[in-house]
Symmetry: C2
Subunit: 333 residues, 2 copies
């Protein structure tokens, strides 16, 4: 199969074998690699010298296996594992709520760059199901759009895409991407618009048909220097959001834990309740998060959220109403 004469290729396949969570006797490795057992021992030595600790259990039932070291070894994945990782990263990057969004985006860009095309559509299929499932069918940004954009920004490549403005118009853009910024629950792209000759901010979930042009340009300095500040400053003009103020009957620590490092601040009121302040862009998201807290709470601030909670309450009551069960059309009003 592979040319096992080449020590480098052999080391790679040896690594991939050792990453399987099982023990490999040296003789079997020798057979698989097509070399003598002595060479296998030498290769194992080489891996150890490279910093990848190959554990060996001695004795009659001995064997080799890869252990945790100080550096990550190169991951050698099969098709399904690759798809799983791509989908997993999509759920984290496409619905970011914790604090590793940028890293997951980098990893996703790195992965998409080398993803075989035969796996690409499988990833897409799973992604739709998984993301909508895990995130509560939010209208988040397409992870592959995110990945391509992040890659172009890192490579300083011009980017071409279609952008749907707030009014629903479709426009085509040619930009020099600078940085992706996460604000609230949405990704924004800070980029220099080549046609309009000015800096613009784009909502990534409104970008489609994204394709790198391949043209590299020297990176441009954004105005103000700090991309995040620039974006958050202009964000509210792009997407109207709701300011939330609520009282939650839960200790501040517990509330923060259940909410995750999500939007907003949590301030303790007393030992068993706290004040929640933050902003989000959809009422459904807010309502479901509050209800999933599993405790009593009061919503003070956005009247729309109060109205929406009443809507949900009414719907939940109708769902348990025996009267509407008989005549299906009764729920029309």
């Amino acid at each position: 199969m592979d040319a096992m004469n080449d020590p480098s290729a052999r080391l790679l396949t040896l690594l991939s074998l050792l990453q399987t969570p099982r023990e490999w006797p040296g003789s079997e490795l020798a057979e698989r690699l097509g070399v003598s057992p002595r060479t296998v021992r030498r290769d194992v030595d080489r891996l150890r010298e490279l910093g990848y600790p190959v554990e060996a259990t001695m004795g009659a039932a001995g064997g080799y296996r890869l252990a945790a070291g100080t550096a990550m070894p190169p991951l050698l994945l099969d098709d399904e594992e690759t798809v799983a990782i791509a989908v997993g990263l999509s759920t984290v990057a496409g619905n970011p709520v914790n604090g590793i969004e940028e890293a997951s985006l980098r990893a996703l860009a790195k992965l998409e760059q080398v993803l075989p095309s035969r796996l690409r559509h499988r990833v897409g299929a799973f992604r739709a199901a998984a993301v909508s499932m895990l995130t509560g069918n939010g209208p988040g940004a397409d992870p592959s759009v995110l990945a391509v954009t992040a890659g172009a920004a890192a490579a300083s490549e011009r980017l071409r895409f279609a952008y749907r403005t707030r009014d629903g118009d479709e426009t085509r853009r040619l930009v020099e991407p600078h940085r992706l910024v996460l604000a609230g629950r949405r990704w924004y792209l800070l980029a220099y618009d080549n046609e309009r000759q000015d800096w613009r901010i784009f909502r990534v979930d409104r970008m489609t048909d994204v394709r790198p042009t391949g043209v590299r340009v020297p990176p441009r300095e954004p105005p103000g220097g700090d991309a995040a500040a620039f974006v958050t400053g202009k964000m509210y003009s792009l997407a109207p959001t709701y300011e939330v103020l609520a009282t939650v009957r839960l200790p501040a620590a517990q509330a923060a834990e259940r909410l995750g490092a999500a939007p907003g601040e949590v301030q303790p009121i007393d030992e068993e309740s706290c004040r929640l302040r933050g902003h989000a862009d959809t009422l459904e998201w807010l309502a479901s998060r509050l209800l999933l807290l599993g405790c009593e709470f009061q919503v003070h601030e956005p009247p729309e959220l109060r109205a929406h909670l009443r809507t949900i309450a009414a719907r939940a009551l109708r769902a348990t109403d025996d009267a509407s069960e008989r005549g299906g059309a009764a729920a029309a009003g």
Copy 2:
């Protein structure tokens, strides 16, 4: 730093450089690798012969970059990307709803096997936040328990762990793990209990302090042959679940899409409503899923779910009740 005299190590770092989404001129690669440009060209050739298509753009502003080929190249990740991948896999494996659970579990086991300890606690910290955030704070199984168990099952290693029975008793077990099976929303371990000398099924979320013994045993044949059938057969005796029957005022296709490939069947009633049948183990999960559908629905079957929906409705109404806003203790009744 690295011994760049070794061609194997050099190829690895070259791969890691090329995985960065940018273009690398050959001269810079030569400098970084500490070899002559001619050797870089030879190394690039070698990568291509190994099946990793290194794209090169010719001309004055040329350079090398790694493109998508037919096989996945070994992924070389930095710390943050590794953590992001581990967290992403945890959200998919620890809250499985789509159909790549087994693959994500394999990938997670592979990754945890070689995860440097310094990254381990960072993964743990993010995991708690991310999983509870994305899954709606379900009491799912600990992903690292899942990963260790999957690894032991793959390696045919005996496993020792503490198990909390339904009555709340803690027992210590020594088993030969056979397979992990996903049933409904929970992971189950089918294993041969060495002390009780019989096959047993364990809920993974009740396993703690899991540690492989390192003792390898020849794999045993499970009773019926098919692990999944065996588990689903005994599942209901382990965890009491709720049978759901509901009518949803949404076309069947849309309902299926919003519910994902989750548990249950969706049967169309007419063009704008359908019947939903399935089972799940927590009322919170069921209620939130139904409410997130964003449409009218009626719950027929589990009386507990009807009661829970009324509870939620009452809580939502109290949250918008101005009277209870003044006196905090008024919500006690």
